[in-house]
Structures are given as C-alpha cells and as structure tokens.
Amino acid sequence: MTEPAFLVLTALVDQSRHGYGIVQEVEKLSGGRVALKIGTLYGVLDRLAAEELVSLDREEVWQGRLRRYYRLTEAGALALDAEAARLAENAEHARERLRARHAGGLA
C-alpha cells in the first residue's frame, strides 16, 4: 500500500469526506508533509474504489458545487488495520535496534 493510499484510508476512518476534505485531512495527518494534488487524489480514490476499500457515501451540493463524499468500507478498515500493524512492527524493530545501539554506546 502506497503512503497516499494509506493516508487517504486513515482520513476516512472517523467520517466520510469529500475530495478537498480528504486533501486537508491527509495534510493534517502527515504534519503538512503530504499535499495531495487533485489528480493524484482521484487516482488513489479510483484504485481504492476498484479494490472496494472505499465507496461513495453521498452527494451534496455546496455553494452550487458538487461534493461527493467517500467512506471507508469494512474491507478498507481491515486492509488499513493490516497495513498499520505491519508499519508498527517495522517501527518497533527499528526502535529496538536503536535502543540496543544507544545502550552499547553508553556501556
């Protein structure tokens, strides 16, 4: 799973969001590091929808413009959970080794 896909799925965990809402949430989640372009966002959404990890929730008209809201599916939640566990395991391995390195340096 790519980082943009991971962040888009994470942005949809708590509520359904529309395109620009996802862009804002991804930027917030990544501490401003990932600023999704609109073309990139819809490419990610297409792929996630094809894999049935997200689906269309509803449509709204806001200030005369169309907003489509996307939500996380059960399959999406499971996939995100598995990816988060994998990343956490990797991070834990890195932390363990860094702790050992620091301990060795202090000894």
């Binding site: 790519t2 529309h18 395109g19 620009y20 862009v23 372009k37 609109i38 073309g39 990139t40 966002l41 819809y42 490419g43 297409d46 792929r47 929808a49 094809a50 894999e51 689906s55 269309l56 806001w62 413009r65 169309l66 907003r67 489509r68």
Partner: protein, 350 residues
C-alpha cells in the same frame, strides 16, 4: 464561471471524455476549494504540479492497470507489451553488437586478421571511444532484465542511460557516413523512442508488477548470439553473389525487426483463439510496433539505385514496406474488433 475554473476545466480535457463526464464537477469543486478565491484580475492559473497530476492521471486512466475497465486495461497491457518487445529487440541488438566487439578484440579466440589496422593505437582516445561503443548496447539488456524481473522503475533509469549510449553510437555512424547524418539520427531515434515512451507511459504507478523467470531475462542474449552466428555465416559468403542482395535487407537493424514483426503477425493472425475470441493485446502491440519499423524501412529506401544488386535490395525494401503496411492494417482491424467496449465509471462501480 471564474477564469481559474475555466482554465482548470481546460486542463481536465486531458482526461478521457467518459471519465470527465463522471468526475469533472467534483474535481473542479475540490480544486477551487483548495485554490481559495482569486480574482480574475490576477489572471490565476492552475499550478504546473496540478497540471502534471492531471496529465499523469490521464495516462493511468487510459492505460489502466489492475482493476481498470476492460478497454483501458487492454490498452495498458498492449502498451506494456510494446515496451517489453521493444526493449527485447534493443537488448538483442546490443548483444549482437557486443558479440562483434568481443570477437574483433579477440577476447574469445584469435582477433580479426586486420585487428591492428582496423583499430586506433592502444591507449588513444579513439581506441577508448571504440571500447565504449562496444558496450553501448548493453544498457538496453540491463533495462530489459530489470523490467521482466519486476523492477520497472530501475528499467526506466537504465533506459535513459541506454538512450544516451544509443545516440552516442548514432554519432559514431554519423562520423563514419556524414552524408547520411539526418537519416541515421531519424532511424535510430524512431526505433528507440517508441519503447522508451511505452515504458514511461505503460508502467505507471497502478500498473501490475510482473516478475518473469530468469530464463526470460536471458532470452535477448540467446537471440543475440543466434543472430551473431547467422550474420557471421552470411559474412563468409561473397557480397557479390546475387543471393546476398535478397538476403541482406532482412539483416540490417530494421530488417531484423521487420522479419520478426512479419513472423509475429502471421502467428497472431492465425493462432487458435480460445474461449470467446482473441485478446486484442498482441495485435494492438504489434500494430503499434509496425509504425517505427515501417518508418525505418522507408528511411532506408534507395530509389536512385543504379546497379542491379542495389535495385534488387530496393525491390526487397519496397516488398517489406508493403508487407508491413498490410500487417499493420490487419493487426489494427483485428485489435479494434476485439477491443472491449467503452464503459463509464458509474457502470463499473455499480
């Protein structure tokens, strides 16, 4: 409609019409929300990064990967096959050239009898250039290996090296035959550009990764060795024999590609088709490949041939062009007939 909205909608025209029909309004809405509310007096334009992201999305939608609609998926597979076959051809030719280089220097067996007279003095810049040219085709082989072993990103980097070497070699040909500079540059450019473009466009972020076995990666080396042996056998025959003028047009750079394409077309058109019809991928890929090869043969056409041997070679060249044209048309018709129908985004999500 604001100027910025108008300009963004213009950028969205890069996308295929069915995709735009489904997505345009929400993409415009998302874009304008992020852009704030600039006045027309400021003449606002979408940033280049936004334009690039839409262009990249357009390529991914048109040349779909896993999960794409059947039609863009078929185009995507066809373009990826163009890249694989094109890289295979250049990798094979790189091996043929390298085998000739190795043989000239006598690295396996005795060097050529006129080895010393054919080469510049040892240590001279000319000798170093000659050695560098010997290796010029090998980045294509490395790129092919990377691609079939499931590393398209590495293949793209290696192809950029291969293109530099490819045109370095063209410079050498131009130096040797300056009156054919434009012809040589065009011919080599046409042959190299298409696989490189197909690689860049077809193996995008959403394209499936396929890792072929090692023997597939070794195929260009095997085919290159075989062609080298055949060329060696042909070289033992006198160029003055009448048969030579019939054979040689099939064994220059585009002649070999022409021969391979004609054989592949015969196979694609006549092979048994399982199930409900043929997959359009191979005919489409071969139809695309016919274009640079036919252009290559066209550029080699010598309509001012005076001696009988040159006239025979011109006649063979014309025959090759006609055959390529017929193949191209047959393959395009076969591909178009079997290409899946267009589907909208909504019909896929239902």
């Amino acid at each position: 409609m604001s100027l910025l909205e108008d300009r963004y909608r213009y950028v969205l025209r890069l996308l295929p019409a069915p995709y735009r029909a489904e997505r345009e309004e929400e993409m415009v809405s998302a874009f304008l929300e992020g852009a704030g509310d600039p006045s027309d007096a400021q003449s606002p334009r979408p940033r280049w990064s936004e334009v690039a992201s839409v262009a990249a999305l357009s390529v991914r939608v048109r040349l779909g990967g896993a999960g794409a609609a059947p039609r863009p998926s078929a185009w995507g597979r066809a373009v990826r096959l163009v890249a694989v076959l094109g890289l295979f051809y250049h990798a094979m030719m790189g091996c043929v050239w390298f085998a000739g280089f190795v043989e000239t220097y006598g690295l396996f067996g005795a060097p050529f009898p006129d080895y010393q007279t054919r080469l510049a003095p040892a240590g001279s810049p000319e000798r170093l250039w000659d050695i560098a040219l010997g290796f010029a085709g090998l980045p294509w082989l490395a790129a092919f290996v990377a691609l079939v072993r499931g590393r398209p990103r590495a293949a793209k980097i290696l192809v950029s090296f291969a293109l530099v070497a490819h045109f370095g070699f063209a410079l050498e040909l131009v130096r040797a035959v300056p009156e054919e500079a434009l012809l040589i540059t065009l011919q080599r450019g046409v042959l190299a550009a298409l696989p490189a473009l197909a690689l860049a466009a077809g193996f995008h972020r959403d394209a499936p990764r396929t890792r072929h076995p090692l023997w597939v990666a070794a195929l260009p080396a095997g085919a290159g060795a075989l062609v080298h042996v055949i060329l060696g056998l042909l070289a033992t025959r006198s160029p003055q024999t009448p048969a030579w003028s019939w054979i040689w047009p099939w064994f220059d750079e585009t002649g070999l590609a022409c021969l391979a394409l004609l054989l592949a077309t015969a196979w694609a058109v006549t092979r048994p088709r399982p199930g409900d019809g043929p997959a359009p991928v191979l005919p489409l890929a071969l139809a695309v490949l016919v274009v640079p090869v036919a252009l290559g043969r066209l550029l080699r056409l010598n309509l001012r041939a005076a001696d009988p041997m040159s006239q025979v070679m011109t006649a063979v060249n014309v025959g090759q062009l006609v055959a390529l044209l017929l193949c191209g048309v047959s393959l395009a018709v076969l591909g178009a007939r079997t290409l899946p129908a267009r589907t909208t985004l909504a019909s896929r999500q239902d």
